[in-house]
Symmetry: C2
Subunit: 240 residues, 2 copies
DNA sequence: CGCTTTATTGATCCTCATCAAGGCGGGTGG
DNA sequence: CCACCCGCCTTGATGAGGATCAATAAAGCG
């Protein structure tokens, strides 16, 4: 079930710029690899709080997160804001902008981060010549659709407790896939940001986390989180 | 605002199989057009209630809806089901399956419908040779991402009334874009399906629609819907 | 024409939002 | 180095929006 809500298969790094998402599953010849690397040249650092891009800006490139942590959010004119995702190392960000050539959300670094820029026009060009790359690009785009639909399901049919459990387990999985401990890590985002992502208020997030701790499922103090009973958390999601 | 939640720009039909989504914005030469048409051969009819595809089936093709109306839904093992979208003539369906080569949701006809099958491998092939087609395919995939994020926003931060108003206005827009009346049409789906899509229970949908009618915003009787005050509905979405 | 599915409406309950107060922590400037 | 401040978090009390349960009505379908 967790799998179906958030799929984040394990990936290994590739040469230029650990593009886990972009590179692994495809087998490229040496020269193809070189051409892909040539495409992904610039590496840029972003300090905590800095914007990778803003809503309304012209679209040029996708970005592969080399290290760090980002959030994407949509700002409503009436003040509401909604966090649409959290992205970590090895993930690709910016795909929403392809459709209109304009970024439709803000991307903000939640810690000091590094990204590789992937000029999209050149990626398209290259993927015309390398079918395996083309195929992979399509998979990445499609995976984003599946991921979003998982969140729709979460927002549309789960209670606060279930949402939070699913969220924590998803983070855990993604950290594990990157070789970090799946049972203890720092949350990079605030309660308010978690709430916005999950369609809850920050007080509800805080209360629910306290509940989980009380029941011996996790240990949480500020941003440091430790899992004590993963099966217990998983059990929270299943029934109804 | 409506625009940002659901974008469905007007499109005109193309030859083989009114593939509004697939064809319009790109300019193809005669021979390119012929090749695209050759790709999209089969037309199949589906009766109301029939499945276009089911969750778990192997992925082969995207489908362009030629006429009719579909819903896509995810079925939870614990019985919960969530409608993830409603698709009408001219829209492309099945893109979620690209990532894993397996369909991740069911697609069900809500009225007698016809679709054109687009074998995806051949579409990829052709789009390698026709850059304009490639570009367009990417836009379609990205548009789906944007659409889903709009729904996330709706589910995560709107009240029942706002959700329903946004939903009705979106339908109106899409009918208008296809040359039908934007102010009067038949709902193809049940209250239960609307509710599932919007993260509400069917009783809430029914009550809220009655409310709208009471306030003179719409006229609704069973499935036939008429808009009386579009501006009033739009106003419901904006403030908070 | 009867049966089943779908829709409406009411009464009640429960989850989560809201409002409010206080605590912790980390960064800054004196 | 300490004091202060500000952002972030926790916890409580209360209330509202929507879920749930239930009964009836209406419509679609064979």
């Amino acid at each position: 079930m967790q799998q179906s809500v958030y799929s984040s298969p394990l990936k290994t790094a590739c040469s230029a710029c650990n593009l886990r998402e972009l590179c692994l599953p495809i087998e490229l010849s040496g020269s193809e690899m070189t051409r892909l690397d040539a495409l992904v040249t610039r590496k840029t650092a972003y300090r905590r709080g800095a914007n990778l891009y803003r809503c309304g800006e012209k679209f040029h490139s996708l970005y592969a997160i080399r290290s760090g942590f980002f959030k994407t959010q949509v700002l409503h004119e009436d003040g509401r804001e909604q966090v649409t995702g959290f992205q970590m190392a090895g993930e690709i960000i910016g795909m929403d902008a392809i459709s209109s050539d304009i970024h439709t959300c803000d991307a903000v670094a939640l810690e000091d981060s590094e990204v590789c820029e992937i000029p999209f026009a050149r990626l398209e060009e290259l993927s015309r010549e390398i079918p395996a790359l083309q195929r992979h690009l399509h998979r990445i785009l499609s995976r984003e659709i599946v991921r979003d639909q998982g969140i729709m399901l979460l927002l549309g049919s789960m209670h606060a407790e279930e949402r939070l459990a699913a969220f924590l387990l998803n983070l855990s999985q993604r950290f594990a896939a990157r070789g970090y401990s799946p049972t203890a890590f720092q949350l990079r985002m605030t309660r308010q940001e978690i709430g916005s992502y999950l369609g809850l208020k920050l007080e509800t997030v805080s209360r629910t986390l306290s509940q989980f701790q009380l029941r011996g499922l996790i240990r949480i103090q500020n941003k440091s989180l430790q899992f004590l009973d993963i099966a217990g958390l998983q059990a929270l999601i299943k029934p109804h």
